[in-house]
C-alpha cells in the first residue's frame, strides 16, 4: 500500500508579531501545517500496517525551512518531493493542486491513497484535496475523522457540521483528514538525524507547465480586536461582584 502525503510548510500563525495593524508574517517560525501532521501520522500507520512507501509532496507556496522538511521525513516518510519556483509562490489551491497532480504523473509516483490535511493552518481553503481528486479522476473523501482500508476499498467517517457520514470508495482515492483522526507522533532526535539522509527530490515548477485561473491578493491586515484585559486574581468575591455588574449593565439579569 503506497501512500502520498501532501504537506505544506507554513508560518506559525500563533507566533506572528503584529505592528500597526500589520502582520509581520516573515518573522514567525516555520512549521508543518497542523492537520498535515495528522495526514503524515495516518500515512505512517498505513505503511506500518500494510507495508509500502510513503512519499511526501511539498509545494513551496510560502516559506522554506530545511529543518522542518527533516521533521516531515522523520515521521516514517521514505522520501520527499519538493516543488519550487516563483511559478508556485502564493496561495492558489488550483495551481498548487495542479503542481501536485503533474508531479505525481511526471515522476511516476505509485499510490493507492493520497492523504491531505482537512485545510491548512494559514489559509484553510479545504480546496486542494478535492481539486487533486478531480485532476487525477479519483474518488474524493473530505474531512475524514476515521479511515479504514480493506480489500482495495477505503471507508471513512466524514466529520460534518451535522454529525458523521460514513462513505466508501474504491482505491486509489484522495482523502483529507481532520485533527481528530489520530495523535501525531513526535519524532525522536535519532529519527530526525536519520531523516537528514533520506532522499529529497527537487522539481522545478517551471518544468510543470502550469496554467490556472488567477487570484490577486490586494491587501492583508491584522484581524484583531482590542479588549479591556482586566485581570481579577485571588479574590472570588470581587470577581463575582464584577461579573454581576457587567451582567446588569448589559441587561442580562432580569
Amino acid at each position: 500500500m503506497d501512500v502520498i502525503a501532501c504537506v505544506k510548510l507554513v508560518y506559525d500563525e500563533a507566533q506572528i508579531p503584529v505592528e500597526d495593524g500589520n502582520l509581520l508574517i516573515e518573522q514567525a517560525p516555520v512549521k508543518i501545517s497542523d492537520a498535515d501532521l495528522n495526514a503524515l501520522e495516518e500515512a505512517a500507520q498505513i505503511k506500518e500496517r500494510e507495508e509500502g512507501n510513503v512519499t511526501a509532496i511539498v509545494v513551496l507556496t510560502g516559506p522554506f525551512d530545511e529543518a522542518v522538511l527533516n521533521e516531515v521525513l522523520a515521521m516514517n516518510v521514505d522520501r520527499i518531493i519538493i516543488v519550487e519556483g516563483k511559478e508556485v509562490r502564493g496561495h492558489n489551491p488550483y495551481r498548487t493542486a495542479q503542481a501536485i497532480s503533474k508531479v505525481i504523473q511526471r515522476e511516476n509516483i505509485n499510490y493507492d491513497i493520497i492523504l491531505c490535511g482537512e485545510g491548512t493552518s494559514d489559509q484553510y481553503s479545504c480546496a486542494l484535496p478535492a481539486i487533486v481528486g478531480e485532476m487525477l479522476s479519483i474518488p474524493v473523501i473530505t474531512f475524514a475523522g476515521r479511515l479504514e482500508i480493506n480489500k482495495g476499498r477505503i471507508r471513512a467517517e466524514r466529520y460534518l457540521e451535522s454529525g458523521f457520514e460514513v462513505v466508501e470508495a474504491p482505491l486509489p482515492a484522495v482523502a483529507s483528514v481532520t485533527p481528530e483522526i489520530n495523535e501525531p507522533r513526535i519524532p525522536t532526535v535519532l529519527q530526525i538525524m536519520k531523516a537528514k539522509k533520506k532522499e529529497k527530490t527537487k522539481v522545478k515548477a517551471s518544468d510543470l507547465d502550469l496554467n490556472y485561473p488567477d487570484i490577486e491578493l490586494i491587501d492583508m491586515k491584522a484581524y484583531m480586536r482590542e479588549r479591556l484585559r482586566q485581570r481579577i486574581e485571588g479574590d472570588m468575591n470581587k470577581a463575582i461582584g464584577k461579573i454581576m455588574r457587567v451582567f446588569e449593565e448589559k441587561g442580562v439579569i432580569r
Binding site: E13, I16, L23, P93, Y94, S121, D122, Y124, S125, C126, A127, A130, I131, E134, P139, V140, T142, F143, G145, R155, R158, Y159, L160, S162, G163, F164, E165, V166, V167, E168, P170, T178, P213, D214, I215, E216, I218, D219, K221, A222, Y223, R225, L228, R229, R231, I232, E233, G234, M236, A239, I240, K242, I243, M244, V246, F247, K250, G251, V252, I253
Partner: protein, 296 residues
C-alpha cells in the same frame, strides 16, 4: 449579474441575503422546498452524495457569472471540485463580496489573525461564510421540482444526521466551555447557569469533536460558528486563535481559567483566574440572590 446558488435548505435563506447585493438574477438549487425570494427555485430530490452534486451542477453552472454556496464542509468540497472541472477561480469562506471589474472578496487567514482582500475575474465559484447574514424569506418567482438518479463510485453507508434549529449567531448571551470541564456530567451545572441567564451553550472543538459532549454545530471558531453575543463567558478555554476568531465580534468577553498565563488573558475584557468549579456555583448563587432582591 446572474448568480446560481446551491445550498442545503437550512442555509439557503442566508445565502440569498449574501447574494442579493451583487446579483440581479438569482437561481437557487436545494433539496427541500423552502420559501426564499429568488427568481427560480429548483428542488432536486434523490439523496445525493457530493459526487452527484458535482456532476449535476457542472452542467447548471454554465450560464451563470457566479456560483455561490455556504461555507459548509460539504459545499467546500463540491465548490472546489466544480471550479476545478470548469477551470474557474474559487474563493473559500468569503466574508464579503463586492463587484468591481471582477469580484472583490475578503476572507480570514492565519487561523483568524489576519484578513485578506482578494480579486478574481468572473465567472467564479465562491463559498460564503454566512454567520454575519440575516436570512431572507419570501416567495420564489418560479419553482421546479424533480428527482434525479445518480450512480457514483462513492457510496454513503450511513445517512448523516440532520441539523437542528439552533442558531448561535443570534444568541445574546453565550456560555462556552472548553477542556477545563472535566466530565460530561458537569454540563448540568453549565446548563443551570445558562437557563438562569437565558444563554446558549457553546464549546471548543475538542469538546464536540474529540469528546462529543456537545453537538458539532455548537463549536465556536474557525471551523465552527462565528458568534456575536453581548456576553461571551468562556469557561476553561485556553484561547487558541482558532477558537478565538469565533468570538471576535462579541461585545464583552469574560474568561475564567485556572492558568494565569492562558492566551485568553490577552483577548478577554475580564480575565478571572479561578477554578470554574468554584466560580460557577458561586455565580449561580449570586444571580439567584440578585433576582430575589429584584422581585421583592
Amino acid at each position: 449579474m446572474r448568480a446560481l446558488l446551491f445550498s442545503d435548505p437550512s442555509n439557503l435563506p442566508k445565502l440569498v441575503s449574501a447574494s442579493k447585493d451583487i446579483a440581479e438574477e438569482i437561481h437557487a438549487i436545494t433539496w427541500e422546498k423552502i420559501a426564499v425570494p429568488v427568481d427560480r427555485l429548483e428542488v432536486i430530490k434523490g439523496a445525493l452524495v457530493n459526487d452527484c452534486w458535482v456532476s449535476q451542477l457542472h452542467e447548471e453552472i454554465k450560464t451563470f457569472d457566479l456560483m455561490l454556496m455556504p461555507a459548509t464542509r460539504d459545499s467546500k468540497e463540491i465548490a472546489s471540485r466544480l471550479a476545478a472541472k470548469r477551470g474557474l477561480p474559487y474563493i473559500s469562506g468569503a466574508l464579503s463580496l463586492k463587484a468591481s471589474d471582477g469580484l472583490l472578496t475578503t476572507r480570514v487567514v492565519f487561523g483568524g489573525r489576519g484578513i485578506e482582500e482578494l480579486k478574481i475575474s468572473m465567472p467564479a465559484v465562491i463559498t460564503v461564510n454566512l454567520d454575519v447574514y440575516e436570512p431572507s424569506f419570501g416567495e420564489p418567482k418560479s419553482v421546479e421540482e424533480r428527482k434525479i438518479e445518480c450512480s457514483s463510485k462513492i457510496s454513503s453507508i450511513k445517512e448523516r444526521e440532520r441539523k437542528t434549529d439552533v442558531d448561535l449567531t443570534k444568541a445574546q448571551v453565550i456560555i462556552s466551555v472548553g477542556r477545563g470541564l472535566k466530565k460530561k456530567e458537569d454540563l448540568s451545572m453549565i446548563k443551570e447557569l445558562a437557563s438562569l441567564l437565558g444563554a446558549e451553550i457553546s464549546c471548543t472543538r475538542p469538546i464536540s469533536a474529540d469528546l462529543k459532549w456537545l453537538p458539532e454545530e455548537r463549536h465556536v471558531g474557525m471551523t465552527g460558528v462565528k458568534v456575536k453575543p453581548k456576553i461571551y463567558l468562556a469557561l476553561g478555554i485556553s484561547g487558541q486563535i482558532q477558537h478565538a476568531v469565533g468570538f471576535r465580534d462579541a461585545d464583552t468577553v469574560i474568561a475564567v481559567n485556572t492558568d494565569p498565563d492562558a492566551p485568553i488573558s490577552e483577548i478577554s475584557d475580564y480575565f478571572i483566574v479561578e477554578n470554574l468549579y468554584e466560580f460557577v456555583p458561586k455565580l449561580i448563587k449570586a444571580i439567584r440572590e440578585k433576582r430575589k432582591e429584584k422581585s421583592n
